[in-house]
């Protein structure tokens, strides 16, 4: 079974490395919150969160290098429809006060 499926697990060191990167990013995001970046504070926070999430999805959840393209498609679909929910809702809220 596992013969005909090139397995995607990485070395232990690699996982520890990713873990360390995630911890550093956490520290960064806390630090960045205390710096006044004007409107860019939330942008930076979300950017870092997205990088972290991507690392988890790609390496911990083994989407990167998976023999199966379907998994990636499923993940992308999930976030795509979430984006629809958020953006079309905001399309209402952000234009409420326009005239």
């Amino acid at each position: 079974m596992s013969e005909h499926e090139e397995h995607t697990t990485h070395s232990q060191g690699f996982y520890l490395l990713i873990g360390a990167v995630l911890l550093v990013l956490t520290a960064t995001t806390v630090g960045a919150a205390f710096v006044n970046l004007g409107p860019f504070n939330p942008v930076v926070a979300l950017l870092i969160a997205t990088v972290k999430a991507t690392l988890v999805v790609l390496f911990f959840m083994h989407v990167k290098g998976a023999s199966e393209k379907l998994t990636g498609a499923v993940v992308v679909a999930g976030f795509f429809f979430l984006a629809i929910l958020l953006s079309l809702s905001l399309a209402d809220y952000l234009t409420r006060s326009w005239r």
Partner: protein, 240 residues
């Protein structure tokens, strides 16, 4: 003729290579079963994304509408506990992924060890969360008749009074989102405890460790949700 009905024969076509006790009868081989389980899990994770998505949508809409109050309320959260918990979850994700690796390598004791550590980390998270909640109770930051909020929003040194109602809204979302997340953590801890017992009993082999893998996927997703919850709830406008 291609459409002739299947000849009525004996029903004993079940002689599959049933060398794996975990292989269910309706799959043709273990690979098919494994792929099915993995796809099923991923689809379930998508439902989780959408489930939390509803709350993220509410959060987004209200944050845009009541930014000052949200910032002021956010500043009342304990950034220390939040950051600590984020770190705990990240470490637990690492132990999970190492557990999967141990399972794949067939190292039973190592696998059990990692699972137990994961559960402990999960519990740590929940205990810290419990302390946070208690603090909220003590400071009357729990929505409802006893809710009180007198802090102001410090906008570059200018103190802007905050409508306590909107702060209450923030805390409603805070409790709904972190509460739902904590519920998922509890389920995850339970799941890994059971898996640890099974692993101890030797249910898994390098050829079959799908439950570990799938529980791992679940745990990582719960981690990802926290990765977003943390900056969104704790880190609004912390600079001053």
């Amino acid at each position: 003729m291609s459409d002739s009905p299947v000849t009525a024969g004996s029903v004993t076509t079940m002689e599959h290579e049933a060398h794996n006790p975990a292989l269910l009868h309706h799959f043709s081989d273990a690979q098919q079963q494994k792929n099915a389980a993995s796809l099923g899990m991923w689809l379930f994770l998508v439902t989780e994304i959408m489930f939390f998505g509803g709350m993220f949508c509410a959060y987004l809409v209200y944050r845009v509408a009541h930014f000052n109050s949200f910032a002021a309320a956010s500043q009342q959260l304990s950034i220390g506990m939040g950051a600590f918990n984020t770190a705990v979850l990240i470490v637990s994700s690492v132990t999970v992924v190492l557990a999967v690796k141990a399972a794949e390598a067939g190292k039973r004791k190592l696998l059990v060890g990692y699972l137990v550590v994961t559960v402990l980390l999960g519990m740590t998270f929940l205990v810290v969360k419990g302390f946070e909640y208690r603090e909220k109770f003590e400071r009357h930051h729990v929505p409802g008749p006893t809710f009180k909020f007198t802090d102001t929003f410090d906008d570059n040194g200018k103190q802007i009074p905050v409508n306590p109602k909107e702060a209450e809204l923030f805390f409603s979302l805070y409790f709904a989102m972190t509460g739902m997340h904590a519920l998922h953590m509890i389920i995850g801890c339970g799941l890994f405890s059971v898996l640890a017992i099974f692993a101890w009993k030797g249910h898994y082999s390098p050829g079959y460790f799908t439950p570990i893998e799938n529980a791992g996927l679940y745990w990582h997703l719960v981690d990802i949700i926290w990765i977003y919850l943390f900056p969104l709830l704790y880190l609004i406008s912390r600079h001053s």
